[in-house]
């Protein structure tokens, strides 16, 4: 009885905190998402905002596109970050380690907007990269490197690297070198060692890094919008458009919650597929 009371006493502030900071601000939006748009007309509750997502193909297609590209971004980021993390954690001299991490942090000293404009200056048709390619005779005609899906993914990968490398460095660091040597000694080749020893060991870091990168990409607005160009409708842009261009806050709120729910579902599915629990990943 006593213990129970104590439990609630300690839990109460935590719950209050969560309620105040996370739940309350969203309640307004949640209510809004179940209302129809016109306050003069029908003030009642409705699911129409949610239905529209599934009925109107461009909405769910945009979501699917966003999710697929975010997944691709996550996978590419992982494949690039793994060797980097491995190098930082195992190969680099201890003194070099901090320096390398700071190097990774460097892009974050400027705002995302500046970073994206930086890419635009480099990659545009009249940009720096084209200039040098033509100068060295590799191209005769400048090519537009912006406004392509590949460029957009590159931009997303670029701003996600750090969030993948940091958790990976910490798991790779905790890997006992003797395990790698033992596997080698028992007859394993490089690939087997990666797939059977290093990757399974790093699973928690891979998962937490992937969740962060996936969510960041899914929630990104600037990079897809500016680097992606004319074909690159991102789901966040659709939410923005509902709020800002169409003045349809109810629809925007519904999209927002759908984004939350669907991305949670995707992460849940990912965790199930790789046989992990969220608790393990967080710890």
């Amino acid at each position: 009885m006593r213990a129970k009371a104590a439990f609630w006493i300690f839990l109460a502030p935590v719950l209050a905190w969560l309620l105040l900071l996370i739940v309350l601000p969203h309640i307004d939006l949640l209510v809004m998402s179940f209302r129809s748009r016109n306050p003069g007309g029908d003030p009642g509750w409705t699911l129409v905002n949610y239905q529209r997502f599934f009925i109107e193909p461009i909405y769910w297609r945009t979501f699917v596109r966003t999710a697929i590209y975010s997944t691709i971004t996550t996978v590419i980021t992982f494949f690039l970050a793994m060797p980097v993390a491995f190098y930082i954690a195992k190969a680099a001299a201890v003194r070099l380690r901090g320096f390398l991490l700071i190097l990774l942090l460097l892009p974050f000293w400027v705002s995302e907007l500046v970073r994206v404009y930086g890419w635009m200056i480099l990659l545009r048709e009249s940009g720096v990269v084209n200039y040098f390619l033509i100068r060295f005779g590799l191209l005769t005609q400048p090519v537009e490197m912006l406004y392509r899906d590949a460029t957009m993914i590159m931009g997303l990968v670029y701003s996600s690297m750090l969030f993948m490398v940091v958790p990976l460095v910490s798991v790779v660091e905790s890997l006992d070198d003797a395990l790698i040597e033992a596997a080698y000694d028992l007859g394993a080749g490089k690939w087997t060692i990666w797939w059977r020893i290093i990757i399974p060991h790093c699973k928690p870091g891979i998962t937490s890094g992937s969740i962060v990168v996936f969510m960041l990409s899914l929630g990104n607005y600037m990079t897809p919008n500016l680097l992606g160009g004319k074909n690159s409708l991102w789901f966040t842009e659709q939410i923005y458009n509902q709020f800002i261009a169409s003045f349809n806050w109810n629809q925007g709120a519904a999209f927002g919650f759908l984004l939350l729910l669907l991305s949670s579902a995707i992460i849940w599915a990912g965790l199930r597929l790789s046989g992990q629990k969220l608790g393990q990943v967080a710890s």
Binding site: D176, A178, L179, E181, A182, A183, Y184, D185, L186, G187, A188, G189, T192, R196, I197, P200, H201, K203
Partner: protein, 360 residues
């Protein structure tokens, strides 16, 4: 008899530091070979070169007559039990043991039977599905050994595998390891800094110091006829008693200790009168109250303490110049009356002590 492993003039340098210094040895097929030496003397470095993780600076490593130069670790017919075992925590016991077999593309059914058989062998039948963290220290030990033995290597390398265990378990595992080696007949190369492990288990022991082998021999040889003062001091307990040579005759030397006592003893070195020497004398070679037995060296010492340790009990005694001498205390009631403060007469046979020239 042919050799599973031959090492010729092996050298390993890390920068300017020589970790392994011109080492030669052969390990006969099916034998238990130990390398015994203090921490940092280069034992692990030798094993890592045999396993292929480290390139020798110079020298030859042959396994079953084949030169191993340039052969990758995963291609060598040797397996290594790591100092901290290095079991794969993400796999259960069965998967750990099956790991090497899978790499050799052994079929699933075959793997199953071989894993079960080796688990039986190491005394862990039915442990296949346990997680690594569910095992005790001794059980982990056996899994690590099973994981290597299942591959039937020409040579099994063990790097202080008992180091992490508590004393009791270590005693037991020592015996079990020896029994296991007898059963499977695989050649074992065993590294340790614990002389008792080496003596109990090995057919042959190499004593290593500062990158060099001081002596290779059976445990008995090392114990009874140490070649160097280092071996004499490192293998088994020894009293060290400094003195000067008085005369040399018939392969025996007569020495006078710093306390003025005169002893006869043997030496492996050619000594001359006036040489400064150390007498190495094992506690169990010293008899209390030897009586007037023929040819014994005898001396008087005062008892400072009785160190009771069951069958291994000793007397801590001191000579008049306050040099401490350990004397084995036989566990019969004859000596129950000995207590600190008393002076006793002690004696030993001249063959039991050995002289080495001291540098000082």
């Amino acid at each position: 008899m042919d050799n599973d492993l031959s090492i010729r003039d092996l050298v390993k340098r890390f920068g300017g530091f020589t970790a392994v210094d011109h080492v030669d040895f052969d390990v006969p097929k099916g034998s238990f070979f130990s390398i015994l030496g203090p921490s940092g003397c280069g034992k692990t470095t030798i094993l890592r070169m045999v396993a292929g993780f480290e390139e020798p600076t110079s020298g030859i490593i042959e396994i079953r007559g084949k030169n191993m130069l340039g052969v990758a670790p995963n291609q060598r017919p040797v397996n290594l039990v790591f100092q901290h075992l290095a079991l794969f925590p993400m796999m259960n016991v069965r998967e750990n043991i099956a790991f090497g077999l899978k790499r050799r593309k052994v079929t699933g059914a075959e793997i199953q039977t071989r894993v079960d058989r080796i688990l039986e062998r190491v005394g862990l039948p039915g442990f296949g599905d346990k997680k690594i963290h569910q095992l005790s220290g001794g059980q982990k030990q056996r899994v690590a050994i099973a994981r290597c033995l299942v591959l039937e290597p020409s040579v099994l390398l063990l790097d202080e595998p008992l180091g992490a265990l508590d004393l009791k378990l270590r005693e037991r595992m020592k015996v079990e390891l020896k029994k296991l080696q007898n059963q499977v007949g695989t050649t074992f190369i065993y590294i340790t800094h614990d002389q008792s492990e080496a003596l109990v288990m090995s057919d042959q022991v190499a004593v290593m110091n500062k990158g060099r082998f001081e002596q290779i021999g059976t445990p008995q040889e090392l114990y009874g006829q140490p070649n160097t003062p280092f071996v004499a001091g490192f293998v088994g307990d020894n009293n060290v008693w400094p003195g000067t040579v008085n005369e040399v005759r018939d392969g025996e030397a007569v020495m006078r200790t710093q306390d003025g006592v005169v002893f006869r003893a043997r030496s492996r070195e050619t000594l001359a009168p006036g040489d400064r020497v150390n007498l190495f004398l094992r506690p169990e070679a010293i008899l209390i109250d030897p009586g007037e037995a023929m040819g014994y060296n005898s001396f008087e010492v005062a008892i400072r303490a009785v160190l009771f340790d069951g069958a291994n009990s000793r007397l801590l005694t001191v000579t008049p110049t306050d040099l401490e001498i350990l004397v084995t205390l036989p566990q019969n009631q004859l000596f129950a009356h000995l207590e600190p403060g008393r002076t006793i007469t002690a004696g030993w046979r001249p063959e039991a002590g050995i002289l080495f020239r001291s540098d000082g």
